[in-house]
Symmetry: C2
Subunit: 252 residues, 2 copies
DNA sequence: CGATCCTTTGAGAACCTTCAAAACCGGTGG
DNA sequence: CCACCGGTTTTGAAGGTTCTCAAAGGATCG
């Protein structure tokens, strides 16, 4: 593992105030691995032996039932994921799969659980991390239950614009197929939702999106600080599944 | 506060391995209050000063957007709620309201945050608590995104049957109006969903439900351990919003 | 007993899904 | 360079589900 990568892991909120000793103990048996796109890192229902840290690439967390799939979060660097299962030493409730070629660091769950019982600053950081992740999911659930498809998309676009710097036009961070699953609809429906937003000053050009009249779009979207998290979480490095979990910025 | 109540709080997973000293510090400034039904304890967006512990009664957690409401969890004793917001000293993402007359213990958020930084066993317990709550929400989100209305209801009924002892007939724990909101549908639609389940051996008699042919109902419901949590969480006392958060048994 | 709220039922509209097919895009191999 | 292939994206039409509006019947509470 390169020094740069160590720095990035160290900079995660989860390891922020932690002693050098604890950090060493946790990263000692760690290994960095490169995966091609489309690799399933972890399958729903499997026991979880490692905490994953995405250092480069793009990872999707998904859930399955009755031959249907849905995306619960899309993560980008630097993010940790499935920390909750690791903390409880429980089976995974969601699968993790790479969307692009990814560099992933794997930390021993055993070592992490030991560290949590040893280092109070670490378990405190873990609490804050999971609290943030919990709130991210509350946002997701509200988004899902309270808004219709077009409204979810509109808010997603507004959030993306802000996160990418606020320019009038920006690029979708991944395939629309995946976005549809994240927003809880079919690809066909997402396409139609985009068509609907055309009437609200949104111009689509492949993966390029332009919000020509933000005020008009916001009148439809009605963004809400209690659902949408426009700011990336603490500092530059992101915590857990928060990032694009979507409306949430923390998913842990 | 009665001794019985202290015992019950003490028995929560959150305070399980905690030192007598920490427990004392946290409960020192606590006060027990009785609220009538329909009281809003906490409003979405408000700062959160206390951790709430439901000792008796029934509490609903709800989210709002654009004049619409949805129920995110229904809690019964003994449960704590809005722990995540307390841990982060953040504004509430959901409102809390009593459904029935309730006895509620309020613990100082400030004291809890101090305790988490002092007592490693407490912050470890807090981590486990929040991890469980997080997983409860993952279950809820999967339930919501992957299943249709009738399927959600069918699984809810199966879960209730198990939790209430497994008898052929049992009683809905609250109004159908509230159940509809919890399951993410309108009351009208819930009524129709019940009518649909009639064809699968479910007999409705006001609040009384009997599952005459469990096998038939399960063929429709397809219950899944990665979504539905039939067992109440750890031990008798329940942690956070877990309990009926619904499919989850722990809600963070 | 009246008022209020919950529950159920009906009808129409809006939304979403499915199935199907065509256009598009990015690669590979000739 | 070009044809081909697999995948995504778009569009259309039909069908199902869910929502809204409306009204009637029940239950509860003062």
């Amino acid at each position: 593992m390169r020094v740069v990568d160590v720095e990035r892991v160290r900079g995660l909120p989860l390891f922020c105030g932690v002693s050098e000793e604890t950090f060493g103990a946790v990263t000692a048996g760690a290994f960095l691995q490169k995966f091609p796109a489309g690799t399933t890192l972890l399958h729903e229902g499997d026991p979880v032996d490692f905490l994953y840290v995405l250092l480069d690439g793009l990872v999707e967390l998904e859930g399955t039932w009755n031959d249907k799939e849905t995306t619960l979060a899309v993560l980008r660097p630097v993010s940790t994921f499935i920390f909750a299962a690791v903390a409880l030493d429980a089976d995974a409730l969601m699968s993790a799969r790479t969307v692009e070629r990814s560099d992933i660091l794997m930390l021993s769950g055993e070592a992490l659980r030991r560290a949590m019982q040893t280092d109070p600053r670490f378990s405190y950081a873990a609490t804050l991390e999971l609290a943030g992740c919990y709130r991210g999911l509350v946002r997701s659930l509200k988004n899902q239950k309270l808004r219709g498809g077009a409204e979810r998309l509109a808010n997603y676009l507004i959030t993306q614009r802000v996160r990418q710097g606020g320019a009038e036009t920006f690029t979708l961070p991944h395939e629309k197929r995946l976005l549809a699953s994240l927003l809880g609809m079919t690809p066909e429906n997402l396409s139609r939702a985009f068509a609907t937003l055309t009437g609200y000053g949104v111009v689509i050009n492949g993966p390029e999106v332009t919000i020509a009249r933000p005020v008009v779009l916001e009148r439809l979207a009605k963004p809400d600080p209690l659902i949408d998290n426009h700011q990336p979480p603490s500092g530059t490095p992101i915590g857990q599944a928060e990032q694009e979990l979507w409306p949430a910025s923390r998913a842990g």
